[in-house]
Amino acid sequence: MNPQLLVNGLVNAALIAPPAIAFSLLFGVLRFPNFAIGGYITVGAFVAYAANVELGAPLWIAALIAMAATALLVWLSDEIVFKPMRGQPPVTLLVVSIALTLILEQVVRPIYGADVRGFAIPLQRPFKFWGIRITEEQIEIIALTILIAALTHALLQYTRIGKAMRATADNAMLAEVRGIDTGRVIMFTWAFCGALFGLTGVLAGLDLVIEPLLGWNLTIPIFAAAILGGIGSPYGAMAGALMVGMAEELTVLVLPSSYKVGVGFAIIAVLLLVRPRGLFGQPEIKK
């Protein structure tokens, strides 16, 4: 087998993993699949583009600005859109989130048009090891994603707010009873996940091109990774991202590369078939 495909798959997985973790965390505390992630990611990419290309900030500063901006945007989207709708059925919220992603995309489009853009970074020759090509950006993407996964793990396992996030996702009523202000936990979760979506916009912009559909194109693989890993489980999302990322690249062995986008859909369809209680069915409660 061509080892180049494995490297490509790894980079692909590294792009999907942070937003899949964020998608899962959000689902954990809010109990609905938030498809506005596409819009958040796109906005993140364009904020970084504006800071980097138009204002001339170094890319890492532009990335931090983008993360802060999306954290704010995502938090605002809760305050304005989702908070007033708490308690609505998940399907209603899902539809609202799709509408939100379309709106965010339409905000970006008139400003930047449909042109493809890239960050102001010098073009570099990819490294070559044993015939495998990998760019410096791709190595950075993989390293950053490993860092994000480790930090998220540490956050959830060892910090007070992280434990509160897990407790709230597990049983929000009981978390309140124990004195946890779940409203603040939810706010923190939105902002944390928002920053991850912003970062994803930057990383995707590095590896792909920056365009209004950037986030939307990543949405299905992210969603597939999150449900493959057992939705609401951030660790599962990491594993799911690896599987989806690899699967997407490896299909080119058997199918033309234009079928790559169908892989996420196929995974979702198969999961729907093998889990007839639905993607979000909670595991049976053991008595």
């Binding site: 434990k163 897990r166 996702a169 009523m173 309140e176 124990r178 004195g179 202000d181 053991k286 008595k287």
Partner: protein, 238 residues
């Protein structure tokens, strides 16, 4: 008579449309155990959830130590010294036993180690299974986790919704002994129980709820001796 520590007066509450409880008054005094009994669907859990801040009272007053807590969020009620062990979904299933107990101490971590020791003394199995996920425990062990969590702070009032549910007869006796021990340590207890006879035996006051109202109340001893209560709720003569 001195005012009770927890004083519930004429509370009406329900879930959205319509009330489930209609003008319920209850009290828990310092040093006392009070027990609510009554048939399924009587509104016992609803009443206790209204005190805990999970159901918003539409009318009436709930005071602890004279301070009105009716309508406060559950997390605020907890911070005012009300510990609550719900009837259902009363542990964090994905968290370990140890993490559950940490969550119990959320609002007061100062005495964490000594309280953890106390809980381990009361329920040694929680020490042995500290790293197990609460969702993987037996029903009885989960009940101990739920109770243990409430003991990780020093509540003024402990609300227990069917603490003996799902326990084997031996464990039921142990649970009631534990409740008594906790009470003797100075915590007022208001509990709902299906094991009515045993619960009333360790209680000073008793309430019988039916159809969303307090149908009868009095000294626990008097309820135990009452032919009517015995007939309806205690399974005949004892």
């Amino acid at each position: 008579m001195a005012q009770a520590l927890l004083q519930v007066e004429e509370v009406y509450a329900g879930y959205g449309r319509g009330d489930i409880i209609h003008g319920v008054s209850l009290a828990a005094r310092v040093g006392e155990i009070a027990t609510i009994i009554g048939p399924n669907g009587a509104g016992k859990s609803t009443a206790i959830k209204a005190i805990a801040g999970l159901v918003r009272p539409r009318q009436g007053s709930i005071r602890i130590g004279g301070e009105e807590i009716g309508g406060l969020a559950a997390s605020e009620v907890a911070r005012r010294g009300v510990g609550f062990v719900p009837q259902e979904a009363n542990v964090f299933r994905q968290l370990t036993v140890r993490e559950n107990l940490e969550m119990g101490a959320w609002i007061d971590r100062e005495h964490f180690e000594e309280r953890l020791e106390r809980v381990h003394r009361l329920f040694p199995v929680l020490h042995e299974r500290a790293r197990a996920r609460a969702g993987n425990l037996s029903g009885g062990q989960r009940q101990m986790v739920a109770f243990g969590m409430a003991l990780m702070v020093e509540p003024r009032v402990l609300l227990l919704d069917e603490p003996s549910a799902g326990l084997s007869p031996a464990l039921v006796a142990q649970m009631f002994e534990t409740i008594q021990a906790v009470n003797e340590g100075g915590i007022a207890v208001l509990m709902v129980e299906q094991n009515a006879t045993q619960a009333l035996k360790i209680s000073q006051r008793g309430y019988v709820m039916a159809a969303g109202r307090v149908a009868m109340e009095g000294a626990a001893r008097a309820l135990l001796d009452s032919a009517e209560v015995s007939e309806l709720y205690l399974g005949g003569r004892r």
